[in-house]
């Protein structure tokens, strides 16, 4: 057991997963990850190539080169760094290269800040990367290890982005149990690359591809993403066997038995929402919580199944699509298009603003009202100074 930040938990996960090539560029609040990894390497605790590259674009380029060269690659970034990588993000999934990256969520663009928001990673839902959002430091460590097992599964062969809340997790220490190297080795076999650059078996990877062939390649990638749902569930079970830690795979349910109203949350807001659910349950209110973990693949069918009996659902978003709603709401409503109960969107915590107990309580209150047929907004901004229009 150690008392460490989530950034350091990620670094330990990388060490235990025996990543081999780690191109890195500093950006707050990610930097603690690559600092500790470089310490591991210089102290001989991790046998890997550390590449101090000159930008995030080069970090992702080098990770892709390393993965195509047959090595297990890791990098980490945040916000502007992720945006700079954007072009290269697409090359990893489309070349079926199972890179794992930690993205420490931080707001992107103006109003400039270094604090938590999901507007950096949410736009990358379309890039072909799997995306998982993390609630606590233990999960950060465990998901780095799980991410390699999922990414490198022969039926997946896609990169995984492990998203964790900037500062709220990245710079906050918690108790974390470190699994033994033997346990991790038994869970995560050596990387067996599928498409590899090897002069003894020369292949050409990613030539210019004319329209006659591109659609089929996109379809294969889409099917691989679809198939990853099953692998995610399986890997979660197998990881639990080795470490005792189980996360539920695509999402986790909290007090959903007999729930009439519920909230969908992701990231650290989930922990706050769990306390609210506990209080409301103590008062006899039939409320529950869906802790969304994977945004890609999005658990559309599974979510429909889990929420079928509800009378109303609220969806929390930590970013806004500037189209009236947040991205998670858009995903959820698309998945639940066949239900008849009301679904409301709840925007909170943008730019790193704290999400309070009272705000979440208010979210549940709006969901209850919508269930009872009272007029509610489709989308409410919580903690906004001044009234909404």
């Amino acid at each position: 057991m150690k008392v460490i930040s989530a950034d350091h938990a990620v670094a330990h996960g990388v060490r235990l997963a025996r990543a081999e090539v780690i191109p890195a560029f500093p950006i707050t609040p990610q930097t603690l990850i690559v600092e500790l990894i470089s310490e591991f390497i210089n102290d001989g605790e991790l046998d890997a190539e550390f590449m101090p590259v000159e930008s995030e674009h080069s970090a992702m380029s080098a990770a892709i080169g390393a993965s195509a060269g047959g090595a297990r690659a890791f990098t980490a970034t945040s916000s502007q760094g992720l945006a700079l990588m954007h072009e290269m993000l697409y090359a990893a999934p489309q070349n079926r290269l199972p890179v794992v990256m930690a993205n420490v969520n931080r707001s992107l663009g103006a109003a400039s800040g270094i604090w938590l928001e999901y507007n950096d990673s949410m736009p990358e839902r379309e890039s072909g990367w799997l995306q998982v959002y993390i609630e606590d430091n233990q999960e950060a460590l465990d998901m780095i290890i799980q991410a390699y097992r999922i990414a490198e599964d022969r039926s997946v062969m896609l990169p995984v982005m492990v998203c964790l809340d900037g500062f709220v997790l990245s710079h906050t220490v918690e108790r974390v149990d470190l699994p033994s190297q033997e346990a991790v080795d038994s869970f995560l076999p050596k990387f067996r690359p599928l498409n590899v650059l090897d002069p003894e078996d020369p292949k050409f990877i990613n030539p210019v591809t004319p329209p006659e062939f591109t659609m089929e390649m996109r379809y294969q990638l889409d099917r691989a993403m679809e198939g990853s749902r099953e692998i995610i569930q399986k890997v979660d079970g197998e990881y639990a066997k080795v470490t005792g830690n189980r996360y539920g795979g695509l999402f986790d349910l909290y007090n959903m038995e007999g729930a009439e109203t519920a909230l969908v949350t992701l990231g650290t807001a989930t922990s706050t929402a769990k306390v609210v659910v506990d209080r409301l349950r103590e008062k006899g209110k039939k409320v529950g919580l869906v802790k969304l973990r994977f945004v890609r693949p999005f658990p559309a069918r599974e979510l429909l199944e889990a929420t079928r009996e509800l009378k109303a659902l609220g969806v929390f978003d930590r970013s806004i699509s500037f189209n009236g709603f947040g991205p998670v709401f858009t995903e959820v409503r698309n998945a639940l298009h066949s239900v008849t109960y009301p679904i409301t969107n709840h925007i909170a915590g943008l730019g790193g603003r704290d999400i309070t107990f009272e705000q979440v309580m208010h979210m549940f209150d709006i969901v209850r009202k919508s269930a009872e047929g009272e007029g509610t907004r489709e989308c409410t901004w919580h903690g906004l100074r001044g009234a909404m229009e």
Partner: protein, 335 residues
């Protein structure tokens, strides 16, 4: 594919010392069937570099003419592993591949082959990063002095006065107004183990430099001037002649910096006036006497910097109406 392995030695690329054009191995790893234009300087350079690097080589090519004409799915002119992802990241990707090979215990030559746009301009940052880290890779810049793949746009490598589609011959401004960026000085300033400039018209020099790049460890940079028939508006049969004149006029200087020691590898007996070089290329045919003199001054200054020899600026006398210029009128060339 059949892999030719040398006898003895510890690697597949062990070959005898190559000193001249006669020593170039005959096995091709960049084979016929590619889609380069006739007279393409890039194809000449790449074919011969591939022969000299041998089968234990992995090639990365960023966005460029080469990426388009060497592999179009499902065909490929490379018999060694080949990879492409984007435009500006050659230095980073080849470093990543090399790091993976190091992990796998593979002693393979990793070479990036980028154009001038991908090196002088958009790829300069990743190139600098790899040079700074002294990554054990070879970076080849195939310099045809403009963005030829996208249809002849001006780059940092385009010479003064040259026409391109983004330095057009207007009523007010004619051709590029800036001089060619001194990329070699920028690269050399990183203090890398080996860098050299090459010409497809001076082949013994070419062979010796590729050989040297192959045997040195660390970051190596080879800069080849590669005439471009559609982009330079020249005759396919004259690519090598033009490359030769580039050297004889001083527009292109053959030298190397080996372990910090700069050495000229060829000095023309006399400096040929730059007009002789310009005359064979349609991209310069609009140039005024004044502009040619400006360019000639630049060449004389460059000559003095390299050869420590003061050359009086030759007078530029254009014979009006008697311009010996070959212009490729094919509107689709290079687009």
């Amino acid at each position: 594919m059949h892999m030719a392995r040398s006898e003895g030695g510890d690697g597949m690329n062990e070959t005898k010392q190559m000193k001249s054009i006669r020593d170039i191995p005959r096995d091709d790893y960049f084979v016929r069937g590619h889609g380069a234009c006739p007279g393409c300087g890039v194809a000449i350079a790449v074919k011969n570099i591939a022969r000299m690097l041998g089968p234990n080589t992995t090639v990365y090519v960023p966005a460029s003419c080469l990426v388009v004409f060497s592999a179009l799915y499902p065909t490929c002119a490379w018999k060694v592993p080949y990879f492409y992802t984007a435009f500006e990241n050659t230095g980073a990707v080849i470093a990543g591949i090399k790091a993976a090979y190091k992990r796998r215990g593979k002693d393979t030559v990793v070479v990036g082959m980028a154009g001038d746009g991908g090196t002088f301009d958009i790829g300069l940052q990743a190139l600098s990063g790899a040079a700074d880290r002294n990554d054990d890779v070879i970076y080849v810049c195939l310099d045809n002095e403009a963005y030829m793949n996208t249809g002849i746009q001006r780059s940092g490598a385009t010479p003064f006065g040259a026409w391109t589609t983004t330095s057009p011959i207007g009523k007010k401004i004619q051709g590029k107004r800036e001089f060619k960026k001194d990329l070699d000085a920028i690269v050399a300033a990183h203090g890398i183990p080996y860098m050299a400039t090459l010409s497809i018209a001076h082949f013994n020099d070419f062979v010796r430099k590729v050989q040297r790049a192959k045997e040195v460890k660390g970051f190596r940079f080879l800069h080849v001037l590669t005439p471009c028939v559609p982009g330079w508006r020249s005759e396919a049969a004259k690519s090598v002649t033009i490359a030769k004149l580039a050297v004889e006029t001083g527009m292109w200087t053959l030298y190397e910096v080996d372990q910090g020691e700069e050495k000229l590898t060829y000095k023309p007996k006399t400096m040929v006036p730059v007009k002789e070089y310009l005359q064979l290329q349609g991209r310069f045919r609009h140039m005024s006497e004044e502009d040619i003199t400006t360019l000639q001054n630049w060449v004389c200054k460059k000559w003095k910097e390299h050869f420590y020899e003061e050359i009086p600026v030759p007078p530029c006398e254009l014979e009006k109406g008697k311009k010996d210029l070959i212009v490729d009128e094919d509107p689709l060339h290079g687009v």
